[in-house]
């Protein structure tokens, strides 16, 4: 299955571009002592980790342990919920995201997100949905540039062939799986440095899922990718590093139990709880 992003350039220029990208794209994320609250409720406690640039990091763990919550704190989406707040440091490219002067809007432009439930804009066509990141920010561009971005992004999300004849139809008219790929196309259209994905494949069939996994492999040459998944095989297949979140007990906050290279995590994890979870003995 070919997932080339747009037309394949010749190897030389591709290599050059990759070097350029290295300079300005793909950032590592340093997380230290992060506590995340919903009002007074401490949902996630004491997370420390380093998410490497140009790699795929997977978060696994039982339902309700705070994977989504932690993921959303990485691009300051957590705080859009009234009363929600984050303590601690999340440093991207030398810049603490939670320092007072930092504009969350700028953070979100660099750190894109794909949600668990597909959420295309119902008032927009497929074409406009892909361009939403630019259009909503009133970014000017020529028709041919726009066409190029739409095609490249839709090809990237493995949706191009299914929708190329009906780009002007509403995005909400697609199937659930197609909508999710549309959302991925929309997120990669703005060329973020980091892409956060919250169970992006939970609504997809195995073929689309493997297409997305291939896509993740391709994207990690340019982007830093963080993915939440309930699918162990998926975590094992796509990720370079894995973080296992768990609840100490019901009612206690979630915490990061173990963070290791995926190969180690699935072969001989440090923590017995990780092994129990991965081998399916609980969760």
């Amino acid at each position: 299955m070919s997932l080339a992003l747009g037309t394949v350039p010749d190897p030389d220029t591709e290599a050059d571009q990759a070097v350029d990208k290295e300079a300005d794209m793909a950032k590592s994320i340093d997380v230290s002592d992060v506590n995340i609250y919903y009002g007074d409720f401490l949902a996630v406690e004491g997370v420390n980790m380093t998410i490497k640039a140009r790699s795929v990091t997977a978060f696994i763990g039982p339902s309700g342990c705070g994977k989504s919550t932690f993921l959303r704190s990485l691009n300051r989406m957590h705080e859009v919920i009234p009363g929600a707040r984050v303590e601690g440091k999340i440093v991207v490219d030398g810049q603490d995201l939670y320092e007072p002067g930092v504009d969350p809007v700028t953070v979100r432009r660099q750190i894109g997100m794909v949600f668990q439930r597909p959420n295309p804009f119902p008032t927009m066509s497929i074409y406009e949905n892909v361009l939403a990141g630019m259009r909503l920010n009133a970014k000017k561009m020529s028709k041919s540039d726009a066409d190029g971005i739409v095609e490249r992004s839709l090809r990237g999300a493995n949706l191009w062939n299914e929708v190329k004849d009906r780009l002007d139809k509403p995005g909400a008219g697609l199937s659930g799986g197609q909508q999710q790929r549309l959302c991925i196309a929309r997120a990669i259209a703005v060329q973020p440095d980091v892409l956060l994905m919250d169970e992006p494949c939970s609504a997809l069939d195995p073929i689309s899922t493997s297409a997305i996994e291939d896509l993740i492999h391709e994207l990690k040459t340019e982007f830093t990718i963080v993915i939440v998944t309930h699918n162990m095989q998926q975590a094992a297949r796509v990720s370079d590093e894995t973080g296992f979140f768990n609840l100490k007990a019901t009612g206690e906050p979630g915490h990061l139990v173990e963070f290791n290279p995926t190969s180690k995590m699935f072969a001989n994890p440090d923590d017995p709880a990780t092994e129990a979870y991965i081998s399916g003995r609980f969760g």
């Binding site: 439930r117 939403a132 920010n137 009133a138 509403p170 959302c183 929309r186 997120a187």
Partner: protein
């Protein structure tokens, strides 16, 4: 369902899935049963009515009673209790519906029949200049202009205030103290009697213009906008709440600031409901009379100046023309005028309602392929 032949009435097919109850009859009424019972009931009602020499009303009630008893009873005899109850409730629901329709249909028929006599090109395009106090042969042009002017002014004041307040309440003030205070005040405002809104406008312009008896279209617009604002806020608020948070988050996650998200995602998604709600609120105030009598008065000539002078509106025209229907010589002509103006008013309000629905359908987010 496999046992149900496709021609059979779907309403009754569920019963076929239940195991047959040996204590219950298992028949099925013919499809024409309602018609048969209906004819029989009408005949019975007419017959008894004729024998007793009573009027049409008694006959109708009798026929209805016969139908309401006979139809479920027949069903109970041939079918089973569940179906009989179903048929009884069906009869009661249709009865309630019919009763509710009677005043509406009778009102519309009366206004259309009596009003259409007065409607003519002349009636719509001339005012009452020079004819006012006597024969009642003028038209309602001045009232149309006045109604339009006052309503437009009210809409221009109320829509921006209402929409912006609702946006603030839903998007910014959610859960804050100020928001609950404002919501409470809006509820209070909803309950303001319309004449009090008129009094407010009157007092306000008495002070502003230091005129003991201000008469101006703007004043009418202010009074009506007071009545419109709470309904606009309420309906827009409901529509904005219906926009899923998923969409706001999708927009934020693309690095779109909050105000752009509101303007380009939230409002367009809710626009159908917003426009419908706003149009309905316009339709509601278009028929207001009391506050307009206080602040715009009545007039016989067309007044195009919104800043000065009394003017007529359709409801106030109806009110003042009604006072002349007692005239022994010209009363009948004035009566025609009243019905004609009422018909025009109803047509305008209904048109606004239809427009609201059409706009709602046109702007609704499309999910089709």
């Amino acid at each position: 369902m496999t046992t149900t032949p496709p021609t059979q009435d779907l309403d009754h097919s569920a019963a076929d899935l239940l195991p047959p109850d040996p204590t219950q009859p298992q028949g099925q009424l013919p499809r024409t049963a309602p018609l048969i019972v209906g004819v029989a009931a009408v005949a019975a009602g007419a017959l008894v009515g004729l024998i007793l020499g009573s009027g049409l009303a008694v006959m109708v009630v009798l026929a209805w009673a016969v139908y309401a008893v006979a139809y479920p009873t027949w069903s109970a005899a041939v079918e089973n209790r569940r179906k009989a109850t179903d048929r009884l409730v069906t009869v009661l629901v249709w009865t309630a519906f019919g009763l509710a329709m009677i005043p509406l249909v009778s009102l519309i028929l009366t206004v259309v029949i009596k009003g259409s006599r007065a409607i003519s090109w002349h009636f719509l395009t001339s005012d009452q200049t020079g004819r006012a106090l006597i024969e009642g042969t003028g038209g309602i042009f001045h009232a149309l202009v006045g109604s339009m002017m006052v309503t437009v002014i009210a809409a221009v004041i109320a829509i921006p205030i209402g929409v912006l307040t609702a946006v603030w309440l839903v998007e910014y003030g959610k859960g804050s103290r100020l928001a609950s205070v404002i919501t409470f005040l809006v509820d209070v405002m909803t309950g303001i009697p319309s004449i009090v809104a008129g009094l407010f406008a009157l007092a306000f312009f008495q002070i502003v213009l230091s005129d003991p008896l201000p008469r101006l279209a703007i004043g009418g617009g202010v009074a009506l906008s007071l009545l419109m604002i709470p309904t606009v806020i309420r309906s827009v608020e409901e529509m904005l709440k219906l926009v899923p948070d998923d969409l706001r988050e999708a927009s934020y996650a693309l690095g779109v600031p909050k105000w752009r998200t509101i303007v380009k995602v939230v409002l367009p998604t809710a626009v159908a409901g917003i426009v419908t709600g706003v149009t309905l609120s316009i339709a509601r105030v278009a028929g207001e009379t009391a506050p307009l009598l206080l602040i715009v008065g009545t007039a016989y000539t067309t007044n195009w100046n919104p800043f000065d002078g009394a003017l007529a509106t359709l409801p106030t025209f109806i009110y003042s023309a009604l006072a002349r229907t007692g005239n022994p010589q010209y009363g009948a002509a004035w009566s025609d005028q009243v019905w004609g103006a009422a018909l025009v008013l109803i047509v305008i309000v209904m048109t606004l309602n239809v427009v609201a629905r059409v706009i709602g359908a046109v702007f609704a987010p499309k999910a089709g392929r």
